[in-house]
């Protein structure tokens, strides 16, 4: 069973649809027991970090997530919440990745949010086994995770090179939206669905 964590607002239907196109049914849930029992867990994120973290804590899901041992994928804000801290609302995160999420500096000529299709490179780890270097993925975000030892893919915007994906043990995350990234995104999700 694939659990898709639902903890508030956001377009989670697209994640379920993408799974279905790959022949899998996801189960939308915020129940700790269901999430613990799942073979894989997807943690989508749309919205604002501090209220999203508050919604997670309210449901006791912060501790559940950190204790999981099976393949886990955070998407966009989901990946950012897996880090130690976010400048968005000065939010303490789950601390799975010991990184600090930063805001793109404004007033440098680049538009914020970083929105649209951008190339991903230096691909490593399990999510990108079938993806070519410099493939395009769809991003929408105003905050970014700097490069780290856990960076599994890079992207650059506004002269800043940042983590397009992270991986540490069973925990994976993408800053881009695989469910909105066409055939490239499908390959990333398919690799996640095969990850052991």
């Amino acid at each position: 069973m694939i659990a898709v964590i639902q903890y508030g607002a956001g377009n989670v239907r697209s994640v379920l649809s993408a799974l279905r196109r790959l022949g899998h049914e996801g189960v939308l849930t915020d129940a700790p027991d269901t999430i613990r029992k799942a073979e894989r867990v997807i943690f989508p994120g749309v919205g604002e970090a501090s209220s999203a973290m508050a919604a997670l804590r309210e449901r006791g899901l912060d501790e559940v997530i950190s204790s999981l041992e099976r393949p886990f994928l955070g998407i966009c804000l989901g990946m950012q919440m897996m880090c130690s801290f976010s400048e968005e609302g000065d939010t303490e995160g789950l601390g799975i990745f010991p990184e600090r999420v930063m805001r793109f500096p404004s007033g440098r000529g680049c538009k914020i949010p970083h929105m649209g299709w951008n190339g991903i490179s230096a691909l490593g780890g399990r999510l990108f086994a079938d993806v070519d270097e410099e493939s395009y993925a769809y991003f929408v975000h105003s905050y970014y995770v700097p490069l780290s030892p856990f960076t599994a893919a890079r992207c650059s915007y506004d002269g800043i090179c940042f983590s397009a994906a992270l991986e540490r043990g069973n925990f994976m995350g993408t800053q881009f939206h695989p469910e909105k990234s066409g055939s490239v995104g499908e390959k990333v999700l398919a690799s996640f669905l095969e990850a052991i």
Binding site: A9, G10, N11, R13, S14, S17, A18, R20, R21, V46, G47, E48, S106, G107, K111, I112, P113, H114, M115, G116, W117, N118, G119, Y136, Y138, V140, H141, S142, S156, Y157, H177, E179, K180, S181, G182, S183, G185, E186
Partner: protein, 254 residues
């Protein structure tokens, strides 16, 4: 490098596309869903659906179309037309839309922008601005609403800047002078807006040939270009357009 986006726009009534569509190879050329799937498989970076009836009775039809589109395609899409309340937005987003666009209603009630941005995030709030040349305005362009019928007396650039402050995540900018002419996008309008706000701008209105896209993305500083009939009538194919833009040095996703 972040690429410039090419966005087909589908005008929808009762789940059907209304602008003339002349497509060979679609099972049902009038089906908005079939057309959306075709575009997503043939180079479109995003899609925009405009509900041109936008009556209360038609809301259910639009939500069902959004669900079907979300199930079928794997690129982002925006839905606009008749959106007024947070319930309207919630329904469309939970049906699978990535962004919603608002236009006249936001001019009448600008707090709508901040309200939606707070509840759903700026990334999903697109402000559509219809603008027309007016030398009496500081930027030279006036905001027009009600589908071109009502001049507001508001400067288009000042409105775009206010919308950015209120939390809009993107501006969909249509030139009422260029729209339907096929003589090219309004480069002056788009450059003055895009160069003076910090959120992305989608340029719309006037596309007739490939060079027009080059001009609006280069001189017009647009982050994305939107068109309807030149794509629907197969006068311009998106893969060919993108190959051309890349040869002109404009970054696009191929």
């Amino acid at each position: 490098m972040l690429t410039r986006r090419i966005i087909p726009c589908l005008d929808v009534k009762d789940g059907r596309t209304v602008k003339g569509v002349n497509f060979v190879g679609l099972r049902d050329a009038g089906s908005a869903l079939e057309l959306a799937a075709y575009y997503s498989e043939h180079g479109a970076d995003e899609l925009v659906f405009l509900d041109i009836t936008a009556t209360v009775e038609n809301r259910g039809t639009m939500v069902r179309l959004v669900q079907d589109v979300a199930d079928r395609i794997s690129i982002p899409f925006t839905v606009g037309g008749g959106i007024r309340t947070k319930e309207d937005v919630g329904r469309l987003l939970s049906a699978g839309a990535d962004k919603i666009s608002i236009n006249s209603a936001a001019v009448r009630n600008p707090d709508m922008i901040s309200g939606f941005a707070r509840l759903f995030g700026s990334q999903c709030v697109v402000l559509a601005i219809d603008a027309r040349r007016n030398p009496g305005m500081p930027s030279g362009f006036e905001t027009i609403i009600d589908g071109g019928r009502t001049a507001t007396g508001r400067d288009a650039l000042l409105w775009a800047q206010e919308a950015e402050r209120l939390g809009a995540g993107e501006v969909l900018l249509t030139s009422m002078d260029a729209d339907g002419t096929r003589n090219g996008f309004d480069v002056d309008l788009t450059a003055v807006i895009s160069g003076n706000i910090g959120i992305p701008v989608i340029a719309s209105g006037g596309a007739g040939c490939e060079e027009h896209f080059r001009d609006i993305l280069r001189e017009g500083k647009a982050d994305a270009a939107l068109a309807a009939s030149v794509f629907h009538f197969r006068e311009i194919g998106i893969p060919e357009l993108k190959a051309y833009l890349r040869s002109e040095g404009i970054p696009v996703r191929i």
